[in-house]
Subunit: 237 residues, 2 copies
């Protein structure tokens, strides 16, 4: 069943946004009586569509159980990268369970973002996460924050990790296998060319653990997918 | 250092193909005396460029050690999917260490491939794997085979795995953790909508292990990246 997120709930119906209504009518070509899933505040509702050709009504049929499980909260800090790579990271990270994405400016980031364009970008990124959440049937949408500096990242409360290209540091496996009680994890990824020595040292001096991802040389957009996959795996039952 | 694969080696130099020579001259704008890495039969050579503006010479300076380690051989069987998804799968799977990719026709594959177009497609796919191998500094290039049927897959000698959407089957983690001595592994992935009940049963009757990848709902192109990531992780030291 197709899934949509709603921002507003009335007593017996939901209000969906214009993009979603367009998707229902024009892309999915649904008709009166068709059922959809609507997620509202981490709850899933089965709803029936009515009056499709006018002012569409999304009527609640059934409130499914709240199926949110309090998992490990995973936050990814992603350097500004080219649009296509960022889109891939956002879509795939959402599928693989990320909770928050923090875009940040690294010394070697090629992409610069002016203040006036930042909010547009963030809206666009947030929309990609919403659509990927619907597709992968999540009951929550990852949050994309404003663009941060490296310094901002050090305020994070929880376990902090920086992916290093150094060989002598611990493997990510050694780190993850010790995180039985961890409930919040921040993962910082470097841009093309990696974080500078200075940046990495700065993070280490602020309680970040340096880890190596092994011997493979991955493109920057592959790293988050790798990290989220192995975190899913490590905490799989 | 930029890496290229060579097909032909003379006593003290290599012959590169036209695409690579174009890349050297026009994309990288290299000049006489610049060094590149050339991989030939799993060996890495440092080479010096000469006569860039004429008939380019790629002269061997040094033969680095053979750094191929006999790892687990990973074969992915991928249903025919749309071009953009296939490209992503090929590029990312190469980065993450796949050894062979077998495109196959599943009952629910949307894409059909006529015989006359098949060889062109395979050449294109092989080229994507070559470029990704260069970028990720591999010393080998994954092989893309002809398009196969489900029946062809059953001939594989080694451990055989099919990703299932069933809930009661073993997790991939339970399976991988037992594969200490495994040296060849075939992973079969379903198309959008999954393999049919009949297809899955057919594979199980031919010694395939059914495994679940957990609770996440992933797009078809995300599954190979997830699988290869966790295999790297499981066998990481």
């Amino acid at each position: 069943m197709q899934r949509y997120f709603a921002q507003t709930k009335n007593r017996d119906n939901f209000v969906l946004n214009a993009d979603d209504l367009f998707h229902i009518k024009t892309v999915m070509r649904m008709t009166d009586g068709d059922l959809i899933e609507v997620v509202y505040q981490n709850n899933v509702y089965i709803c029936r569509l009515d009056n499709i050709n006018g002012d569409i009504k999304v009527i609640i049929v059934k409130n499914l159980e709240n199926i949110v499980k309090k998992d490990l909260e995973i936050v990814l800090a992603i350097p500004l990268v080219k649009e296509q790579k960022m889109d891939l990271i956002l879509q795939k990270s959402t599928e693989l369970g990320v909770n928050k994405i923090i875009p940040f400016i690294a010394e070697r980031s090629i992409i610069k973002l002016t203040n006036d364009k930042e909010q547009n970008k963030i809206n666009r990124w947030q929309r990609i996460c919403k659509e990927a959440s619907e597709q992968s049937k999540r009951v929550d949408i990852p949050i994309v924050t404003n663009v941060k500096s490296l310094k901002d990242l050090t305020n994070f409360e929880g376990q902090k990790l920086v992916c290093s290209t150094k060989k002598y540091v611990n493997s990510i496996k050694m780190f993850l296998q010790k995180q039985i009680d961890c409930d919040k994890l921040l993962l910082v990824i470097g841009p093309e060319g990696g974080l500078s020595e200075k940046e990495e040292t700065y993070l280490v001096n602020h309680d970040f653990h340096q880890v190596t991802l092994g011997n493979r040389i991955m493109r920057v957009e592959t790293v988050p997918l790798f990290l989220l996959s192995i975190i899913n795996y490590e905490f799989m039952e």
